[in-house]
């Protein structure tokens, strides 16, 4: 595990003293780190911004993610939290939203679960038709599906799981 690097022309080799310098570099065993991050949020849209920031911070922690990844992750998280708080928990202060993120080297998986009755995502219409263009609502799932690399729901429909590749 210890590698002496005597061949390398180290700039300090010809130091003030002219005496030999040796550099030992350690190759550390690398963990293919799967980290899970979890939190629970109150059913209040006022917390969405701070919660998105918090979760994104952990997802990016120690990585050099692209601006696009950070942006897409922020948008889809905001969508999922808004749906969980407004549609799922109907802003009921007794209900919470559970967020679980699995951080992998090349991707992030986020699951957002509310305490509502769920819904059937297949029934949601395409918001980009000419008829619906001036609708104030209905773009959330469409944006989620456009920006995430994978989207899954649990059978009940109160839990959405997204995967985004770090790229």
């Amino acid at each position: 595990m210890l590698e002496r690097v005597p061949e390398a022309p180290d700039p300090r080799e010809s130091d003030r003293t002219g005496l030999p310098l040796r550099v030992y570099v350690r190759r550390s065993g690398s963990i293919d780190s799967l980290v899970r991050v979890e939190t629970r949020l109150p059913s209040d849209v006022a917390v969405v911004e701070e919660a998105v920031e918090l979760i994104v911070r952990h997802c990016l922690s120690g990585t050099t993610a692209s601006q696009r990844f950070r942006f897409n992750l922020s948008v889809v998280l905001s969508e999922c939290l808004a749906n969980a708080i407004l549609c799922g928990n109907a802003q009921n202060p007794d209900k919470v939203v559970a967020v679980r993120a699995e951080l992998r080297r090349d991707s992030v998986e986020v699951e957002v679960t509310d305490e509502g009755d769920g819904f059937d995502p297949a029934t949601v219409r395409d918001p980009t038709t000419q008829d619906d263009l001036e609708e104030p609502c209905g773009r959330g799932l469409f944006l989620i599906r456009s920006l995430a690399d994978e989207v899954r729901f649990n059978p009940k429909g109160n839990s959405i799981c997204l995967m985004l590749r770090r790229k």
Partner: protein
């Protein structure tokens, strides 16, 4: 995080979205515009050059604002969308609904 409004010499109310435009603050943008509209303002520029991200609620708020302004005979322009923000408008085809300029100067020149 918030909004700043500034009356431009040409009579355009410039609203800058600083930070996010999302579910938690879209109502506030609507109120700011509504209040200004009630005070007689008719020309609006919403500038996003200091905006982080927008979610579908924010986009929806812009659609509602646009409709309101049009109903009152006013004019709305958007500016300062970076590549990521612009892609949200393109994905949702809202780029066909709004008058979008690259910079606020270009938008102001178009009023």
């Amino acid at each position: 995080m918030g909004f700043t409004t500034e009356k431009n010499p040409g009579g355009v109310l410039v609203v800058r979205v600083e930070g996010q435009l999302i579910v938690g603050n879209r109502q506030e943008l609507k109120s700011v515009i509504q209040e200004a509209s009630d005070n007689g303002e008719r020309k609006f520029l919403i500038d996003f050059s200091k905006t982080g991200y927008i979610d579908s609620s924010g986009l929806g708020a812009l659609v509602s604002i646009s409709k309101k302004i049009r109903e009152q005979g006013g004019e709305l322009r958007l500016s300062g969308l970076n590549e990521d923000l612009r892609s949200l408008f393109e994905l949702t085809k809202l780029d066909t609904l709004f008058a979008i300029a690259d910079t606020s100067d270009q938008a102001l020149a178009a009023f």
